[in-house]
C-alpha cells in the first residue's frame, strides 16, 4: 500500500467520519 504520512498532513484539519464513510481535509486547520 501507499501510506499518507503525517508530514503531508501537517497544518490541515484531518476529519474522520468513520460512520459516514468519509475523510476530510481542511486547509489552515491549526490556525
Amino acid at each position: 500500500v501507499a501510506i499518507l504520512g503525517n508530514k503531508q498532513q501537517q497544518t490541515f484539519e484531518v476529519v474522520y467520519d468513520v460512520t459516514g464513510g468519509k475523510l476530510g481535509f481542511g486547509a489552515g486547520g491549526c490556525s
Binding site: I3, L4, Q10, G24, C30
Partner: protein, 417 residues
C-alpha cells in the same frame, strides 16, 4: 513559507530550522474547548515531557524508525507473519530516557479515580490504548509522569480470560492473549517496540464533560522501545477496541486532528460533531475499508500534480494496492511508478539548486545553505470525489540541515507493497 503563485512556494530558508521555543496557538473558546486535546510534537519545545528526556533531532534515526513502521504495515497487510526486522541490518539504539520517537505527536488524557494526567502518543495506525502500569512486573522504561498505579484507583478492574473482550484484544493486536488469572495482552510494533500486560478497564477522562467509565486498555507490565518518555499510546484505529470505537456512543466515530507544521507549534485532537469547525472549508473524500487491514483507514488516492500539472501516472498504480492514512508514519510512501514521476517533476522544478547526497529513504536532496529564500513547486494529492490536498510547504521538504534539505516523499520498493 508563502505561496508566490498558484504553482510555487517561496520559503525563507532560516524558517526550515526548528525553533527552540514553543509557539502556543490561540485557545479554543466556548464549548469546542471541551473536547479538544492539545497535540504537540513529542520532542518539540511544547512537549510536556521533560526537557532532560529529549534529544536533538537526528533525521536519519527518524527515517529509520519510519521505515521500520512502514515495513510492519506492509507485513500486516500482506498477511505475512510479523517479522519486519528479520532481514534488516538496521538497529536503532534505544537509550534509556532518550526519545527517538520523533515522528510522533502526543496528547494528554486523564485515567483512573482520582484522575491522573498522562501524556500519550496518538496513533491512527493501531487500536490498543495502553499505558505503563505499576508494579512494572518485568520492565517499564523511564517516563516523564509518575507511573500509573491501578491499586491506587477505585475504578480499575481486570478483564477475565476467555471473555469476548480478551478475544478481541488478541484480534486487534494480532497476538493471541495469554492468561495469568486475568487476560494478558501483547502488542508488537514495527520497530520492535512492544508492550505486554494486563488487559483491564478504567475510567478515561478526555475532558470534564467527556468521561468514559470502563474504558478497556492495556495496563503494561513489560514495555520497551521507542516511546520516548510518554506514558503510553492512544490507539485510534478502526478496531472495536480503539478509542474511536469505545467512545462511539457519544462521539459517533467522528474525530479530527491538526498536526502542527513545526515541532514548536501546537495542534489539536478533537472528538464528536465539532469536527470541521476549525477550517474554513473541509473537502471530503471516501473513507474506505479493506479486508487486508481492518485496523487501517484506507483512502482513494488517484493522482498527483506538481506545479499544477497532473503527472502521467496510471490510476492503477494507486488503486491496485490502495493507500492508507496514518498519523504515526512520517514520510508518505508512494508506489514506485508514482514516486518516480513525482521525483522527476520535482527535480526538474528544482534544477537551479545544487543537489546533494541522499539521506536514508530520501533520495532527492539539495544544499540550500547559500540561499536566503528558495522557490519550490506546489504538490497536490488528488483523491476520489475530486478532493485535492495541496500539501503545505512544510510537508514538501524535510530538513537535516540547510546543506541537506530533501523532498519529503519516498517510494515503496515493490509495486505490490
Amino acid at each position: 513559507g508563502e505561496i508566490a503563485d498558484s504553482h510555487h512556494h517561496v520559503i525563507v530558508t532560516n524558517s526550515l530550522i526548528p525553533a527552540k521555543t514553543c509557539t502556543q496557538s490561540p485557545k479554543v473558546s466556548g464549548s469546542n474547548q471541551l473536547r479538544k486535546l492539545q497535540v504537540v510534537h513529542i520532542n518539540g519545545p511544547c512537549s510536556p515531557l521533560g526537557q532532560g528526556k529529549k534529544t536533538n533531532l537526528n533525521l536519519g534515526q527518524i527515517l529509520l524508525q519510519d521505515e521500520l513502521r512502514v515495513r510492519s504495515i506492509h507485513s500486516r497487510i500482506s498477511n505475512s507473519k510479523q517479522s519486519p526486522l528479520a532481514d534488516s541490518k538496521a538497529k536503532i539504539p534505544a537509550k534509556s530516557g532518550r526519545s527517538l520517537g520523533t515522528g510522533n505527536f502526543v496528547v494528554n488524557v486523564g485515567l483512573g479515580t482520582p484522575k491522573r494526567d498522562l501524556t500519550l502518543i496518538f496513533d491512527t495506525g493501531s487500536d490498543l490504548t495502553w499505558i505503563q502500569c505499576k508494579p512494572c512486573a518485568v520492565n517499564c522504561y523511564q517516563q516523564n509522569e509518575p507511573t500509573f498505579d491501578p491499586s491506587q484507583s477505585s475504578t480499575y478492574s481486570n478483564i477475565s480470560c476467555g471473555s469476548a473482550e480478551c478475544t478481541q484484544v488478541g484480534l486487534a493486536t494480532g497476538n493471541s492473549p495469554r492468561c495469568s488469572s486475568t487476560c494478558i495482552y501483547g502488542v508488537l510494533y514495527g520497530d520492535n517496540s512492544y508492550s505486554v500486560g494486563f488487559y483491564g478497564r478504567e475510567t478515561l477522562t478526555l475532558s470534564a464533560s467527556d468521561v468514559f467509565p470502563n474504558f478497556e486498555f492495556g495496563c503494561g507490565q513489560n514495555n520497551r522501545g521507542l516511546f520516548g518518555s510518554a506514558a503510553g499510546l492512544l490507539g485510534l484505529g478502526r478496531n472495536q477496541i480503539s478509542l474511536v470505537s469505545q467512545t462511539a456512543t457519544k462521539f459517533g466515530k467522528k474525530f479530527s486532528y491538526c498536526l502542527p507544521s513545526t515541532s514548536s507549534g501546537t495542534g489539536f485532537l478533537a472528538f464528536g460533531n465539532q469536527v470541521g469547525t476549525s477550517s474554513s472549508s473541509v473537502k471530503y473524500t471516501s473513507l474506505l475499508t479493506d479486508s487486508r487491514g481492518n485496523s487501517f483507514y484506507f483512502v482513494p488516492l488517484l493522482g498527483i500534480s506538481v506545479k499544477g500539472q497532473r503527472l502521467a501516472i496510471p490510476p492503477t498504480a494507486f488503486t491496485s494496492s490502495g493507500t492508507i492514512i496514518d498519523s504515526g508514519t512520517v514520510i508518505t510512501r508512494l508506489p514506485p511508478a508514482a514516486y518516480a514521476a513525482l521525483r522527476s517533476a520535482f527535480r526538474q522544478a528544482m534544477s537551479k539548486y545544487p543537489s546533494t547526497s541522499s539521506l536514508s529513504i530520501l533520495d532527492t536532496c539539495y544544499d540550500l545553505s547559500g540561499y536566503n529564500t528558495v522557490t519550490i513547486p506546489t504538490i497536490t494529492l488528488h483523491f476520489g470525489g475530486g478532493t485535492g490536498l495541496a500539501v503545505d510547504s512544510s510537508g514538501i521538504l524535510v530538513v537535516a540541515s540547510l546543506s541537506q534539505v530533501c523532498l519529503a516523499f519516498a517510494g515503496n520498493s515493490d509495486p505490490s507493497d
